[in-house]
Amino acid sequence: MTKYAIPAAAFLIVCLSLATLYSDIYPRNVFGESSVFLRQLIWIVMGGAAFFAFSRIYYRRLLNFIYPFYSLAVFLLAWVLAFGGARLGAQRWIKVWWFNLQPSEFVKLAIILVLSHYFSRKGLGEIRLDIRRLSFFRGMLLPFLIIALPFGLILKQPDLGTGLLLMLIFLSMVYFSGVKLRYIISILALGAIISPVFWHFLKDYQRDRLLVFLNPDFDPLGAGYTIIQSKIAVGSGRLFGKGWLSGTQGQLNFLPESHTDFIFGIFSEETGFLGFLFLLGLYLSIIYSCFKISEKSDDNFGKMFSLGVGTMLAFQMYINISMAIGLSPVVGLPLPLMSYGGSSLLVTFISLGIVQNINRRG
């Protein structure tokens, strides 16, 4: 049963994504934005191919490539930052031929791989690892150093959403690995103490967004505008939705970023609460499949990795939807498998492909 849950749910989600994108661009074809639909279609085909490829490759063979992949991802991240410095500010993309590569997406996967590998190493003769014995340094600080560099680079971009997501992935994987609870609590406390310092380093627009979250009327024409419009889009869908191609918020161009970060607004305007429940059910089956595979797997790497992917998807979905309904600040994270964007799609598909293989191998 679980064997088909992930590919089936993922397939349904990308179909919904295409339908929503089509609806979003349908009235505005004049600007040649139909390419958005076509590109997404191409990425989905490529992502699907990657999923099947990775689900066939024995995942332990990938272990040799983890650190090179991690280095490459961090290098691209640094490169994008150096390259972007020449322009006015944030630059998250590298132009490769006809598409934009977003290294921060690949960093997510790299970090899950590296942390899984770190926490699954065993000493010679050890039958099972006992992370509980690990010191604060080996259990907390060293793995933190692994993510510190990409984390810093991402905050420097600045990309608040991905930074937050990396932190959450890190915390849940450390927690799952069995590191003593008080270590985790102490690092959280430390974070709480230094967070005012971070405030100082935030860009103006990011501070605006946080302030707007606390009070949407703070900037109703700028950052607050998006939240208000997104809430109208979602809310006006009511129970059954306005129907496919009948949404008005996205189509009248009220909702900015409607094909990327705010695609949920368009989707739920047209499909309503029932559509939301259906989509949520699809995510639920993917995420809980990941958890189940993690429980079932005999291999520590497999356990850690599946859990990492599950929590990554869960948090990403939660942050995206909660910002679309005004429950959390607008931090700019794509909705996995729904939002337009090749890097995100590809990374999600590859991650799920590996999980699928872990399931196959047991």
Partner: protein
Amino acid sequence: MRIDKIKILTGILFLILTGGVFYLQVVKGGFYYSLSVKNCIRVMPLEGIRGRIMDSSGRVLVDNQMSYNIAVIPYELKKNPKTISELAGLLNKSVPRIKKEIEKGFISSFSPIIVVKDADKKTAILIEENKFRLPGVTVRILPKRQYPYYDLAGHVIGYLGKIDSWRITRLRDYGYKSKDVVGFGGIEESLEPALRSKEGGTQIQVDHRGRMNKIISFRPPLNGQDVYLTIDIRIQKIVEEALINKKGAAVLMEPESGKIIALASSPGFYPGAFMEEGSSAYVQDVLSSPDSPMINRSISGQYPLGSVFKAVSAAAAVEKKKIIPARRFFCPGKLSVGIKEFNCWSTHDSQDLIEAITHSCNVYFYHLALLLGPDILTDYALKFGLGRQSGIDLPYEASGYVPSVSKRKMKLRSWYDGDTANFGIGQGDLLVTPLQSARLMAVFANGGKLVKPYIVGRIGPEEIKPEEGADLGIAQGAIKAVNEGLRRVVNSETGTANIGSWGNLKVAGKTGTAQVYNKLSHGWFSGFLPYDKPRIAFCVFLENTGMSIHSVVLANQIFSRLREEKLI
């Protein structure tokens, strides 16, 4: 097991989302639905004012003026189809023409589209008076660029235009939209982020008839920052007037700091034409003219430098101890290098270094170049800032070109001694911008520092500090010897720039006649003044003028007038 707790946490997150969406869609669904159906929220944008551009003492070079623009809101027009014909009647325009304007300017149903740009006051009042007959028509007051000095310093200022597709892909992340106006060229482009205003507006709630119910919020627009340049418009004016009807450029800068005093390029253009109605013929002319008036020759034009480069060769030779300044060579009017004969423009007999600079003797510098060899010449050309951008705060600066043996080899061609000889007198592949030429003269004027030219003195409240020049480490003896030569070029009886009318201007400089294949030679005159305590380094350049003496005469005119007006 900890995974159970993670599962529970995930479950809680799912429940929160379900609750949140349920609240929005089911509990408050009716409210939001009515908002969306009535398209209840509208934004009435308010433009801020773009920053002004001033000269060094605050004279306004680019100002803003209010202009009246007649705009329509497409959504309202759809409901009141009669409005268009009413409007057409009042404006004396045909209905199809107005419809075409609306089609062209459409952004979204509620964004106003301007159908008459920059209307006169009478029309604006007429529209306001007939407002009740014209639902959906408004008069928008927008700031408009105004140029009190007309085309003066047009290249430095740049112009405004509708954003193009190349720029929009770059600027979209910074909130630029497809019909925005942005700076093209000059300061308008390089300081776009500072000059640009931030749009504000009023967000209003309207009822189903489109009447305003209440104001939801208001955000005042933010004005752009004023920019102060380092140029003095009085000096700029005299320089540009001297260049009228000529093709060329002139640069005046402070040798110690790199501060630009005047930066002119001719022919020029009037920046206002790009946003004005009815000047499309002028714009077409400017864009298609064979004299390319849009190009800022002073920083974007690259030309062979000719004999001005001898100052660099001379400094290199003394510094590298290939000669002492008293070293004499005999000039019979030509010199054989390899199988070719290289000519001098006259016969100079026996010359020392200072005399050779004074008379611009080619033979002497062929000898120097052969003593130095091509690698040292390349080194020194680069040292003096040639072959790369100076880093001035203007866009589209050219880097010029410095030849070298290795670059030649990359093209699989050989380097001959003849090339070395030619390099020594600034001929051959060497290409230089007028700004680079003035900058290399600044090195002699300030005793050996390569400064970074700059033209923006202040952005808003922020004073721009000049960067400290890089010390090139050239011995003072070498600089002194060259400077003596440069002084005599202008002030000695036989100097190539002695036109007998320099008075007490105390100019030092070097002429250059750069040969151009199949066309008249370019004329250069670069130097500094006064030679005992330099305050200005300059370059005057004329394209295809035939002889360098034309540039000398022009420089003389400029400085004499500046002296008359007590500006130097």
